[in-house]
């Protein structure tokens, strides 16, 4: 597994954990008699900040851990951490798939307004698809790396 694959795997796992936390908190809020929009907005804020911080931290930690693992334990320098044209193409394909899911999510979210659902549902759907699209993007990149291209 290359450095890029390891990095994407860590990123995907951290996004999945944030997604699980988001779903768990949303189900908790849904079980209440009435949803307080302030609580939902606060949750979104936490998720966005958490997502950015965890993503940056996981990239740095992965880099450090891999360097230590290769140099101290394996006794040789780690695999190249340079991104080349194939990495860039795989990244582009992942971004394309992210955009597909996000685009479909936007349409579904807007459609919720046609069937008279509350605006909070629309924003929740948008948030849901934003996280889902990030996971799909990471997963598809891993798939392309495993397949070769």
């Amino acid at each position: 597994m290359s450095y890029q694959e390891k990095n994407i795997t860590v990123s995907m796992i951290s996004t999945l954990l944030i997604f699980a936390y988001y779903l768990a908190r949303m189900f908790q809020l849904l079980q209440q008699d009435s949803i307080d929009p302030a609580e939902v907005y606060s949750l979104w804020g936490i998720i966005v900040v958490l997502g950015i911080v965890v993503n940056i931290a996981s990239t740095i930690i992965t880099y450090i851990v891999l360097e230590i693992f290769h140099i101290v334990i394996k006794g040789d320098p780690p695999d190249s951490q340079v991104t080349d044209e194939r990495d860039e193409l795989i990244d582009l394909k992942g971004t394309r798939n992210t955009a597909y899911v996000m685009g479909a999510g936007m349409l579904i979210s807007m459609a919720s307004q046609i069937v008279d659902m509350p605006p909070l549902t629309m924003f929740n759907l948008l948030f849901f698809f934003a996280i889902l699209s990030a996971i799909v993007g990471d997963f598809s990149q891993l798939y392309f790396y495993r397949r070769g291209f």
Partner: protein
């Protein structure tokens, strides 16, 4: 219509160049070892620039490194 395929002789050329390792070729070409592996397996067709760079490393014409099989495109 068959899918056009770009084949390559990278593995053979590496062997004829003092058994150059994939890592050595990757470093000279400025790509990752995984890209060389993918090319040798025929799973990835490089850009024109990378193809020329590899041919230059082996000091051989491009068409001796890469060959184009149009499939049954005709």
């Amino acid at each position: 219509m068959g899918k056009p395929i770009i084949n390559n002789n990278i593995r053979t050329l590496r062997f004829h160049h003092d058994e150059m390792t994939q890592q050595q070729l990757a470093e000279k070409a400025g790509v990752t070892r995984q890209t060389i592996i993918a090319m040798e397996k025929g799973k990835y067709s490089p850009s024109l620039e990378l193809a020329f760079r590899i041919a230059h490393i082996f000091k051989t014409p491009l068409e001796e490194v890469f060959t184009y099989d149009p499939g049954d495109a005709s």
